[in-house]
């Protein structure tokens, strides 16, 4: 199982599970990060401390710490 913080730049993944506690989970969901959604990693801050992702049309920044709580699976590049 992968978590989002392990992803490299420009990789595309699908969310499998959110392991965050209630509050943070709510926050993630309100940003559209929920099961089944597709995430693209856009940019990594120096030392990977913060990552920028794209969900739908929305760009979101989050810390590696929070990204670690998002379980993802790689999407095979078919498109």
């Amino acid at each position: 199982m992968h978590t989002l913080n392990e992803c490299e730049k420009a990789c595309k993944v699908r969310v499998v599970k959110l392991n965050a506690k209630t509050d943070l989970k709510q926050r993630l969901i309100s940003f559209g990060i929920m099961k089944e959604c597709v995430i693209e990693v856009l940019e990594l801050a120096p030392a990977k401390s913060t990552i920028e992702i794209k969900v739908g049309k929305m760009r979101i920044a989050l810390r590696a710490q929070e990204a670690k709580l998002i379980e993802v699976e790689k999407i095979d590049d078919e498109s």
Binding site: I29, S30, F31
Partner: protein, 713 residues
């Protein structure tokens, strides 16, 4: 049926429409409010919190509109103060209907909030804003179909081109005149089944309620606290509870999750996907990089990003304090002139002193900061409305997080090097309570411009000129580093607990709108003048009083006759200065200084230095002029004054001077800043925390400095 005449005869009550404006951040709510012509703007605060509240009043057709702009919120979570304010307002306040503002260019994301609003069963109108941008991106939305699908009127508008504003208002009037709306929020089969079960149960027992049964059922399933509480005391609860537990289990099973809120979020999302699929057409999906992504690849570049940002900050800083100082000089000169002119017309000494040194100087001190505040807020409004601010947080969060702070803390902290007042105010860009409070506590460690004269004076007295620059730099950097350490310590003690998560939208880059910036800056400046202004003026008068009273006529007469007795101009001035010194010594302030002298003895301060520190509480610049008075040189001295420098190097030991500098670096910011701090932090208790916190650190650091320096000299 009432006829038209009757309605007109009672316009105020009959035709008032109160609207709550709700939307996610950055959808253009403020812009929309501003685009209504001839509207009256009211700014204020939501009760109890430092969140700006903008109300707009205007007339359209035969109606009086009141629109309340609620802070942007992504969903009904209570994560930030803004979200809490919005949530509470929507649940508890009375209003006629909601206008839900939506960014047409990202419909699906925005509808997530809409779905939550729909489950509140209030009347609603949806404003599809940014229609102009949507057209550019070849997005087409079938509003008629969308209105039908959702059971809510949807109107295309553009706050920029002002298209569709009238349609929106007409739709609002129509909703207001019709009976209750029937929003059509449809869930998956599993959830609908459970809703039906609960509704049937409520029917059977003829439960009395204002809301529809469907609404109650949804709220129960969502674990809504209020609905629970209401039903909990009802006799049907004992039977209802097992049904509910069963229903929740079913829903959770269906979503393969043990979190009912997550399950509902997924329900909303799939409802929204359905809507979007039906009503939105976008020609040829351009999978190329968007403009925003192109700009981002430069601005948040792993290597170039931070230097670019530092350059912007440098520019803003230069503007704030270079250009800002020009009108500041004028304002200063104006109040000086005003004081002299008004003073000349008042015969009574006491009254003149009260008016000139107390009131006019006090009000002048408030107005003096306005240019700084305006320029800084224009800068911040630019950073925020272009979307760059979020990038800043992205770039710097890694570093600041190590010290328990947030990437955006950087801006208030840097501003603190100029002046603490705008710095405290700019801490509002931090949306999270704890992050903001922590930053507020640290700002004081960044030495503000007003402390510079004190440093220059003491460095001049004790160090060789070629060392001066390095020492000054060391003081500034030392303060900043101390601040970082203090932040870390606070984080591990007072602000202990789990880190606040950092999840933030990076909005699209947009060209700033002049009107919007003007609006934001005006709001902020008015707030400063209104709230802080009155306090600052009052407090300056208090300090004036403490340093001028009690009067001592005996001393005054004695010196006046002495002054008259001597001939030489020089000895006259010396005597006048001596009078100022003895008067200050026996004033309330001087008495306090004497009283607390023993407390400062371990730091190597005499009573003169203690008094100078206290007057520094009023404004840091005053420290130098107080020292001037106390060393009987008159108050017109500045940091470059050689006689003051030599007086200080003669009367103060090196070790005492060093510990004095340390105290100046750390202790409480000036009165005006402290008042702004208290307001921004949200309570007087925080002022006492700040007072204790800075005093303890200043005292212990100064003590250590004094001991070490004494060993060497």
């Amino acid at each position: 049926m009432m006829n038209h005449e009757e309605i007109k005869s009672c316009p105020v009550i009959a035709n008032h429409i109160k609207i709550a404006l709700v939307g996610q951040p950055n959808v253009g709510k403020s812009m929309l409010i501003n685009s209504v012509s001839n509207a009256h703007l009211h700014v204020g605060n939501f009760s109890g919190v430092t969140v700006d509240k903008t109300e707009v009043l205007f007339d359209y057709k035969e109606y009086h509109f009141t629109v309340v702009d609620l802070p942007g919120t992504y969903a009904f979570t209570d994560y930030t103060i803004e979200e809490r304010v919005t949530h509470e307002y929507l649940c508890a306040e009375s209003y006629d209907l909601i206008i839900n503002v939506i960014d047409s260019t990202s419909l699906e994301k925005n509808l997530q909030l809409t779905a939550e609003l729909m489950s509140m069963s209030k009347n609603m109108v949806i404003a599809l804003n940014m229609d102009d941008e949507a057209k550019k991106e070849n997005i087409e939305i079938d509003v008629a179909y969308m209105s039908e699908l959702m059971g809510i009127p949807c109107v295309k508008v553009s706050a920029v081109t002002k298209n569709g504003i009238e349609d929106l208002l007409n739709a609002v009037i129509e909703v207001r005149e019709s009976t209750a709306q029937n929003a059509k929020l449809i869930f998956s089969e599993a959830v609908e089944e459970e809703i039906a079960t609960i509704v049937n149960y409520l029917h059977k027992h003829k439960y009395e309620a204002i809301n529809s049964y469907r609404n109650i059922a949804i709220n129960l399933l969502k674990n809504n606290k209020k609905t629970y509480e209401k039903l909990h005391d009802n006799p049907i609860w004992t039977e209802l509870q097992p049904i509910l537990i069963e229903a929740s289990k079913h829903v959770e099973l269906h979503h393969d999750s043990d979190d009912i809120k997550e399950a509902f979020a997924e329900e909303y999302a799939s409802f929204n996907r359905g809507i979007v699929a039906e009503v939105l057409y976008q020609e040829v999906k351009i999978e190329k990089k968007t403009i925003t992504e192109k700009i981002d690849s430069v601005l948040i570049h792993p290597i170039a990003g931070i230097p670019i940002f530092l350059f912007f900050m440098w520019g803003l800083f230069q503007l704030t304090f270079e250009i800002g100082s020009i009108p500041m000089d004028w304002i200063d000169a104006f109040f000086g002139w005003l004081g002299d002119t008004v003073g000349a017309t008042i015969a009574n000494d006491d009254i003149r002193s009260l008016v000139v040194d107390g009131i006019i100087a006090g009000v002048g001190a408030v107005i003096l900061f306005v240019p700084n505040i305006i320029i800084l807020f224009i800068g911040i409004a630019l950073l925020e409305s272009t979307g760059y601010m979020s990038r800043v947080a992205f770039l710097l969060d890694g570093f600041f997080h190590k010290f328990g702070m947030h990437g955006q803390s950087f801006i208030p902290l840097v501003t603190g090097f100029g002046c603490s007042i705008p710095a405290y105010m700019s801490a509002r860009i931090l949306k999270n309570d704890r992050d903001r409070l922590l930053t507020l506590f640290i700002i004081g460690f960044m030495s503000c411009g007003a402390r510079l004269p004190v440093y220059v004076l003491f460095i001049g007295a004790f160090f060789a000129p070629e060392m001066a620059g390095n020492i000054l730099f060391a003081i500034y950097i030392g303060g900043a580093m101390l601040g970082m350490i203090a932040a870390k310590i606070l984080k591990m003690t007072a602000f202990q607990g789990e880190d606040e998560p950092f999840v933030m939208e990076m909005p699209k880059y947009r060209l700033p709108s002049l009107k919007l910036i003007w609006h934001t800056v005006l709001t902020k400046t008015m707030m400063y003048l209104k709230k802080a202004g009155t306090f600052i003026a009052a407090a300056s008068m208090l300090v004036w009083f403490l340093s001028n009273y009690p009067k001592n006529l005996f001393l005054e007469n004695e010196y006046t006759s002495k002054i008259e007795a001597v001939q030489a101009e020089k000895s006259k001035i010396t005597l006048e200065n001596k009078l100022a010194e003895v008067l200050l010594e026996q004033s309330y302030l001087g008495q306090i200084g004497k009283f607390i002298e023993p407390a400062f003895a371990p730091l190597g301060f005499d009573w003169k230095m203690s008094v100078a520190l206290q007057t520094g509480l009023a404004a840091k610049e005053v420290v130098v002029s107080t020292l001037g008075v106390l060393y009987a040189l008159g108050s017109d001295v500045d940091a470059q004054n050689n006689s003051l420098i030599s007086a200080i190097s003669k009367n103060i030991s090196f070790a005492s001077a060093m510990s004095f500098i340390v105290v100046i670096m750390i202790y409480l910011p000036c009165l005006a800043a402290s008042i702004v701090f208290t307001r921004e932090a949200g309570g007087v208790k925080y002022f006492f925390y700040l007072f204790t916190f800075t005093s303890v650190i200043a005292y212990s650091m100064a003590f250590i400095t004094y001991q070490i320096a004494s060993m060497f000299s």
